[in-house]
Symmetry: C2
Subunit: 427 residues, 2 copies
């Protein structure tokens, strides 16, 4: 399939929160205590809240930078591509990258909002979290209807409040909450406790997907303190299989048959092996462990409840039928370092060479739309939704690779511009 | 391929140490302090050493038991199948299971001998460890030349002593040491420290493979204290990818180009995804992390240094060319609960249906023989090495599935006998 003909909805991107996020969204009582951006003496910008200082890590906002400049040092807003934090610039970057729809995970609150959960003043925490969710849904997503899958932060500290917030945001059209891949690692009751039942009931009632992003407990696999960072980067996606196993064997899926989880940024190539392993474990051990899925296998149960996703995963694509064609979605991961923006469509077309058009459509947008109740075509004619059509709208938008020098854009590497991409896509 | 025509060398089995192991192997000074078997009031047998009490966990000796009786409770020698601890019975079970050769990991000392390493009297620890290695090589493996790949325990507490022990056992024909998959998790310097260099030099000099068994640091993935045991069982093999990543990016492979590791009981189906992930991590990040493999990719480096293995892994078999045909070996895992003994050959033949004979030969025995410098054919004519030939020798040996009642064998389930197996294999 030609890259220009793809329709792309990404189920895992990221936004960097702009400094004005909370402005006008909190009552006078809470406004002073709201999270604020401060500039540090080293020139980096940080979010400050409740005594915590959260830097923007360079690797999390590298879209458009040369790879030599990737790194984990703190960064400033004027060293980032504006598409990281400015929704109008983001839409231009999405157009240039050929991406129709995008679900954006949070940055400074943590993937599951644990910064807010750590605040002892729970009224303040809830006010801030709701202000965040309203900003995300109304301002970020609302600025361009049909272009963003809205996603809400969870009230981690109170399952009843969490349920209420799910119902509140669902009424505003939000069908995704982000959640931790292991609440026990954050000091909360685990997935095996009844504690979370009010939340699970709410997401089932409201048709909301629980999107668990790798690393959302804050615990990535670190083998040793002196291990090279490459080890941690390599292991990131594979570690989400721990969450998948934890949930698969838990009472959650048995008690809440309508519940759905997304393994965000988890990759797909390991899933077929994982499903075999689940079924073998069941076969060899259920007679003494007491697991009982009635007439189904664990792999069947997985496919009923889990959405997986990938950036560019040749093994997962080859084995897509073993994963389940309804269980795979594509992600762009803009503006993180794993992303191939703005050439992600070309990368995907290479990886998916030979995949029939109808199967690829399920993977690149149909599954995402169905799982997240997202309907971009109600806002935009389908023929205007393709990579080629979106790039035509982006004409003139600069997507060259730049070196950033304290806010001054300086071209140091061979640039890629939309014209180039359009030429390649039609070649 | 017909199961009866397979030649099977298993690179991962287990032995339960018999009570007499240390008898006559230690000087008077150490004999009293040597590990001993004691019977507990609950009827279970335990090993006692240096203040530690080590039960035999039921799941580790379930060969020949019905699955309803699997479990993690402690057990006694007379509740185990004698093939667990008696080498003469083991050979009969290997014959009945069609297994020509076997590498047996230790039980009570821990996979990497950490029970001995914990002993503060390092002279005693070394004496006991050497006695163990001599017993394993001379008595267990020596009883049936050409049937066992000898494997030694490492001197975890002293790299120079570890190197000396590698050279000592290599001189006796032992080309495998067991080691932990993460020394840092045991409180030792990590794979990234120069600390272990004397050991790495010795294994390279002597052509010894470092066999790292999953769980050998004692740290299996436990998601939460109240997680069902099925979660831990499911995740066991996948967690060894942490060790593979740790080693792959470490200085070890760069400084010791001849070093070889086996990922014991690690499975194979996740490897193709893992290799893609390694290469993508390298592509996206090496310019800032400083990794440099010259003209090779991380996946090339992996194939030069790592042997993988599987019990029954349809995905790994389908993707064998992506793993590397020289990098895959088969394992039986007798007498653990993941094993399909005595029907493992039939299981393997099903999983490998359609694999060309020459490729299957590399996987079922040629790779194991080459990696571990093991030559069973010097002891036994090749035509006597097949599943069918070995089973003919086992004629009359009882391999029925039994229920154990305090040492009294009682048949409760449909039995499988060698006659049945032979019939099925020739069907």
């Amino acid at each position: 399939m030609n890259a220009r003909d793809l329709i792309l909805v990404s189920v895992d991107d990221h936004l960097v929160e702009p400094p004005h996020l909370f402005e006008g969204r909190l009552s006078a009582r809470f406004a002073d205590a709201a999270p604020k951006v401060e500039r540090k003496p080293d020139g980096s910008d940080v979010w400050v809240f409740n005594g915590s200082v959260i830097p923007n890590i360079g690797l999390n906002a590298v879209a458009g930078r040369p790879k030599e400049e990737y790194g984990v040092e703190p960064t400033a807003f004027d060293e980032m591509r504006p598409g990281c934090y400015d929704v109008h610039e983001r839409i231009k970057d999405m157009n240039a990258g050929g991406v129709l729809g995008s679900m954006c995970f949070p940055s400074f609150p943590g993937f599951s909002g644990r910064l807010f959960a750590a605040c002892e003043d729970k009224e303040l925490a809830l006010a801030v979290l709701q202000a965040y969710n309203d900003w995300h849904i109304d301002e970020w997503c609302g600025a361009y209807p049909g272009r963003f899958i809205p996603m809400a932060l969870p009230v981690l500290w109170d399952p009843e409040e969490a349920a209420a917030e799910v119902r509140r945001v669902a009424a505003k059209g939000c069908h995704s909450i982000t959640f931790t891949e292991n609440p026990a690692a954050l000091g909360y009751p685990s997935f095996h406790a009844e504690h979370w039942d009010p939340l699970w009931k709410a997401v089932c009632d409201e048709g909301v997907v629980v999107s668990i992003h790798l690393g959302s407990s804050g615990q990535l696999a670190v083998t040793a303190p002196d291990a090279p960072v490459d080890v941690m980067i390599t292991l990131q996606p594979m570690n989400i299989c721990q969450a998948a196993a934890d949930l698969l064997w838990s009472r959650v899926l048995k008690e809440f048959p309508d519940i759905r989880f997304a393994l965000s940024e988890g990759g797909t190539g390991w899933i077929p092996y994982f499903l075999d392993r689940l079924d073998r474990t069941y076969d060899m051990h259920h007679l003494w462990t007491g697991q009982d899925f009635k007439d189904r296998l664990p792999s069947d149960v997985f496919r009923e409840h889990f959405l997986t996703c990938f950036i560019a995963d040749p093994v997962g694509m080859e084995l897509r039928h073993l994963i389940g064609l309804d269980n795979i979605a594509w992600e762009c991961d803009y503006p993180h370092s794993d992303s191939s923006w703005p050439e992600a469509p070309e990368e995907l077309a290479r990886v998916a060479a030979g995949v029939p058009v109808d199967e690829l459509a399920r993977i690149t947008y149909e599954n995402a739309c169905r799982w997240y109740s997202f309907d971009p075509f109600s806002q935009r004619a389908r023929e205007r939704c393709t990579v080629g059509a979106l790039r035509a709208e982006a004409k003139g938008h600069d997507v060259a690779i730049h070196s950033f020098d304290h806010g001054r854009f300086e071209r140091t590497h061979k640039g890629v511009d939309v014209g180039d991409l359009a030429k390649r896509a039609t070649a």
